[in-house]
């Protein structure tokens, strides 16, 4: 599972093949193609499964028809279920899951702590306050999403400003502590709004938002957050080798020639942009940003050149699978935050207990 490395005889898919073909297989097919194919299979499964079951063959037919403008044989009801009900949800799950996992991997490296999640600097707390305020003021959905996005960015900007103002201590530690303090303030404001909110109408909506859901995600939502998420992911992908150096800590990274004072704000801004865009549509979905980078680290090691792509693919697949469970396990929708924690936390404990840890 190690691309770019010739020396590792990790696996030999074709013992008799010429060396260059074997190398191609080892560096391209296994670590890159296989996970992507797996993810695509999961996408088809998610499109086919639900209360209204669609045969896999029809899913392909409908997708091909839509993509290439071919005539479709499937019933109109099936087309609506696949294209208008499930496809937006599946796309949202892929984009949000990949984004949260990549942001989590970045934060864990930046803060040199494998227990850090994308919420560390208050992005989720800020987004939550924005959304809760929008629901409390009975604003339209687009305005609630906008407030959530702005709240997430605003909270991290406030934390960063405090961290920059307090210059006497370790900058990373200052950021984390400022995040804890500002997160507490935001949390109390959310609690106040919950107390004040109409208990029959607004409070359930608030609770539902705080537990996260993809149920209401539309194609328009996906199109709205995609630019922000891509804008955040591009610098993360470009700077992913330098992320390795950032995980050594401020002084060592600088002594090795890294401009940490430029790189750290860029990376934080990129990861925050991704997270804020993701939660603005789905609400707070915990555990993905914490858990997925761990699993990715177990599979491909801590090198960010491989960890980041692996986190993207695993995050997309994990949220897609969890959402599939959320909408099929019970007659009513189970909020995602409940499932990600319910599945994630025991798995995390198992990782701890079995000693299969991706950190020292």
């Amino acid at each position: 599972m190690t691309p770019e490395r010739e020396t590792v005889p990790a696996s030999e898919p074709l013992p008799g093949a010429p060396p260059h073909i074997r190398e191609r297989l080892a560096t391209l097919v296994l670590p890159v193609l296989l996970p992507i194919l797996g993810l695509l299979a999961l996408v088809v499964l998610a499109l086919a499964t639900g209360r209204y079951s669609v045969p896999v063959g029809d899913v392909f037919g409908i997708l091909a028809g839509k993509l290439f403008g071919l005539p479709m044989r499937a019933e109109p009801a099936m087309q609506i279920v696949v294209l208008q009900v499930r496809l937006p949800r599946v796309l949202a799950a892929l984009v949000v899951g990949a984004g949260l996992a990549a942001a989590g991997a970045t934060y864990q490296g930046l803060f040199r702590n494998p227990l850090v999640s994308p919420d560390i600097l208050g992005v989720s707390a800020g987004a939550s306050l924005g959304a809760v305020l929008g629901i409390f003021l009975a604003l339209p959905v687009a305005a609630i999403q906008g407030l959530a996005f702005a709240g997430g960015l605003g909270a991290v900007a406030a934390v960063y400003a405090v961290g920059a103002a307090v210059r006497r201590h370790d900058p990373v530690l200052t950021l984390v502590l400022a995040g804890v303090a500002i997160g507490a303030v935001l949390g109390s404001a959310i609690s106040l709004l919950k107390v004040l909110a109409d208990p029959y109408n607004q409070l359930p909506a608030i609770t539902y938002w705080l537990l996260g859901s993809l149920a209401s995600a539309s194609l328009g939502d996906v199109a709205a957050i995609l630019p922000a998420i891509l804008l955040g992911l591009v610098p993360l992908m470009l700077l992913r080798w330098r992320m390795n150096l950032m995980s050594l800590g401020e002084e060592e990274a600088r002594a090795l020639g890294v401009e940490t004072r430029v790189l750290r704000p860029v990376l934080i801004a990129a990861a925050t942009l991704v997270t804020a865009a993701a939660v603005s549509v789905t609400g707070v979905i915990g555990w993905i940003g914490l858990l997925v980078p761990h699993v990715a680290r177990l599979l491909v090691g801590p090198d960010f050149r491989r960890l980041l792509p692996a986190s993207l693919i695993l995050g997309a697949g994990y949220l897609l699978a969890v959402d599939l469970v959320a909408r099929t396990i019970a007659p009513i929708e189970v909020p995602l935050g409940i499932l990600t924690a319910l599945i994630g936390a025991p798995f995390f404990l198992w990782l701890l207990a079995s000693g299969k840890r991706g950190w020292a």
Binding site: T7, G109, N244, S247, A255, G257, G301, D303, A360
Partner: protein
Amino acid sequence: MLEVSGLAFGYGRRRVGAGLDLTVRAGEVLCLLGPNGGGKTTLFKTLLGLLPPLAGTIRLDGEDVARWSRRRLAARLGYVPQAQGATFPFRVSDVVLMGRASRLGPFASPGPADRAVAARALASLEIAHLAERTYTEISGGERQMVLIARALAGEPGLLVMDEPTASLDFGNQTRVLAQVRRLSRLGIAVILSTHDPDHAFFCADRVALLHEGRLLALGDPAATITPESLARIYGVAVAVVPLPGFRQSVCAPLLPD
């Protein structure tokens, strides 16, 4: 190669040391001795550009480094920190590869040529066999060697080593210092700090005694490390005895009567 003149250093308003003048030539080993809190680490951070000088200048190859970028400075000045644990279990070869950061653009990843330099750095320290091991699972002595290899992978002209022998066993201390000697024969200048004056006799061309932020003495080990100077900086009685048949001396603390 390195010229420091009139240097004052410290943290912001808190001045740790001042009036420091010293030069290091290519291939020279300068050993910095001084008590805890004497300013060694602060001086190193200032030399590495991690702290701005409070006064005076630091010149490399005749040029003031004040305006140099981090990358340019790091490409000339390698840094070997004390070997500590790492957060993430990188492979040794990837750790050494990080030493190439000063030679690559901000968006670049290391390529085959960089990997070859990293492999040579490991081989030159005779630890090529560690390449595929995990950094967090090797011994403290091996980690220190890996960090030296990482610094060498940046192809520096001068190495700054902050107590490279701290927390190493006797054999590993000696092996690290022997490598310091070997590097100087390759033309790489080394500035290292240590708590053991014997190390200065073992590997240094010159010794600087740093006490309360000022240079107490600077010169060749035999002339600089004396019972008087050691008593003055450490506040304990020490015997300095020439080792028969060798050019080294050994230092031993003395019990009062």
